[in-house]
Amino acid sequence: MVAQHIAFGFIAASVIIGALRVVTTGNVVHAALWLVMVLAGVGASFLLVGAEFVGVTQILVYIGAIIVLFLFGIMLTRAPIGREVQLTNRNWAIGVVVALAIAGVLGYALIDAFGTDKLPDESRQFTATVSDTLFQQYLIPFEVVSVLLLAALVGAIVLARKE
């Protein structure tokens, strides 16, 4: 048990630090890299809980595809690489206020609601179970999501093609 806690603490720290750096760094590429750290940490926390399929999927899809996508986007929009520029807009203070407000409300609600609920010790979820449930009960959403991906694909092409 203690090992889990320590592991979790380590993961949480890296996630938070990484997230903070994402939203405060002046270098766009650095921001993307800090995002990688955040995503990895989140994947690790999935594994910690026992959701092995999602954890692996997270790493594969998010870090493997989406970050690459971001890097391509950064490249294509000629974002200044390596230079520190002002990347925070004028009204950042409102953002701070709102973020703190959200954090406060959520924190209070969570502590108030879930107090000291404990996760079960054995909470491993097998991939087989996931696939069974996915292809039996949640088949239609699965197909719909596929169509959604198709729509996104077509949409992105239509939007971004050169006339």
């Binding site: 009204n91 953002g95 709102v98 407000a101 959200i102 409300v105 959520l106 209070y108």
Partner: protein, 713 residues
Amino acid sequence: MILHWVWLMPFIMAMSFVAILFFGKRLPKKGSEIGIVAVGACFVIALLAAGSWISRVNDAQHTAPAPAAATAGHGSTEAASTSNNEVVGENGGGGGGAEEHTVDPVTTEKTWFEIGGEKFTVGTMVDGLSVMMLVVVTIISLLVHIYSTDYVGGDRRYTHYFAFLSLFTASMLMLVMSSNTLQFITSWELVGLCSFALIGHWWEEKPNSDAALKAFITNRVGDVGLLVGMIILFWSAGSFDILRIDSLANTGGIDHLLLLVAACSLTAAVMSKSGQFVLHTWLPDAMAGPTPVSALIHAATMVVAGIFMVARLYPVFFHGLSIGDGNLNLLAIVGAVTVVGGAGLAFVQADIKKVLAYSTVSQLGYMVMALGVGAWTAALFHLFTHAFFKAGLFLGSGSVAHSVHSFDMKEDMGGMKKFMPKTYWTFLVCTGALIGLPPLAGFWSKDEILAGGHQLGTHNAYEIFMVVGVVGALMTAAYMTRCVYLTFFGEPRGAAADPHHHPHESGPRIVVPLYILSALAVVAGLVNFPWGPDSVKLRFEHFVQPVGEYFPHLGVVEFVWPLAIISTLVVLAGVGLAYAYWFRGAFHGVTERSRVARGGYVVLANKYYFDHLYTGVIADGTKGPIARASYWVNQNVIDGVVNAVGIGSRKVAEFLYGTVDQEVVDGAVNGSGFGAEGAGQLLRRIQSGKVQQYGALLFGGAVILAGVLVFTL
């Protein structure tokens, strides 16, 4: 029977008027033939009507008297159909020796229109008076028509003249047979209109149109009295019907004061229409019209309309003015003043027609005076005879003027006796009738008036009027002798003496009417002969004087020899005086020697200054100061008020516009606009276009909601 059809007479004349207007110019005789035929037909109908009435009176006399004294209802209250009322009964009033019987007039009636339950009718009422007038009007009109074909021949408006003669005859006939006062007033005005049109026949010359206007306007002044009187009678009797008014007035159904006021008002109308003092001034000026017109209208027929009205509505006057009690009343006094005043003015005229005009005024005064003393039959008998001899005199003067082309006796006449013998003799006969020489017509009628003044009224109250009548007779004799002398005797002067154009006797169409009229002037007096068997004696009175509920009981006037002899002597004295002056040259130079005589002459020559009073004092006074004063009031007071109201309204409007509308109302409106704009400007800042700001608002709102949910639930 024929008495129901008398309305045909004005109808025929009216049709003649229309026919002459439309077709007259194309006919060979230019329309005069239509007029003559129409009048001839009316004359025949009038004679038949007279005969019918006479037989009616005779039948009434011979019918056995009914025991009850009730008279049958008059036909006048039935509507929309002709009614024939021949019921007679014995008059319960008793009285003197002559048998008394009620002869009701024959009436016809048609409803004209109805307003609010009040029926307005047209109709005829025929009794002895109407029949007498019908005969007079038609015969004079017929003679005048024939005379005019020669006198007015070749005139610029010949057809128009005959059209108006027909219209006049129609109106006069309708007047004398009117059954109600509305119809009476209408025909009264119509005869006035025809008089205006005919006096102004040669209106291109200003004096003629002035005379026509003067006649019409003076008559209008009197017509105020007519309307007031008729209105009073309508309201007090409750009806326009003449028989009803007369019956009510006679039996005491109308208050005495109302009758008095009505009688005085109606006297004003008599004064204007029948040329009494003070509204007589139009009659001499009316001589500007053609002579046949003067003969017909201003001697024989129209001017007697006033006399006829008094005679028709006699109960109103008799009871209103208390004639029966010997009251010195308005009618008698006006008549007496007119007799003397008119006669006086006739002495100083150079125009022959003006002499005759003043003579007419004087003779009308006799008739009014007779009515004023209660001698009803005498007045109407005088009207009857006067029509003939006065028309004869006028036509005779026209005959003379036609040959010398002038009316001025002093300038252009003289010695006409040898040039125009027929005119001379007829003129002389008519003069004799006028001055009252027995046995000519005027003697009988004038003497009856004098006898009336002598005998009627309590305690000989009316004797003064007899004296006035005698004085008038003297003056009449004198001025007529003067007129005859100046015209027919002496040496020819002026146009009469023109060597190239000798005056000659007029043609038959002029002379034959003169013959007829002078013949009538001789025999007309015999219709009221005071002696003889019952079938001959007093025929006029018998047939004309009404007997019935609607006519007051009058005193009987008897022929007295002393009065007749005195009046004849007075007349001869008048003739003698004038003869001495003119034929023999006595009394000449009186006006140079005596200041009184000269003053009197000046007064007479200026016609008692009446004209000066009317035009100079009354008209100019109104035109001058009164008009100026009212103009001042109008400009300053009335216009001042109007202008002040206008200016005030404008100032209020300016205030309203400037202050209320521009500032208050517009201010509110603009203010709301500005307010909306300001609010919009404020809210506009939320729309910055920046997505992150919208995001901030979104998240912020969500947080707040979440907070609310979390912290309160």
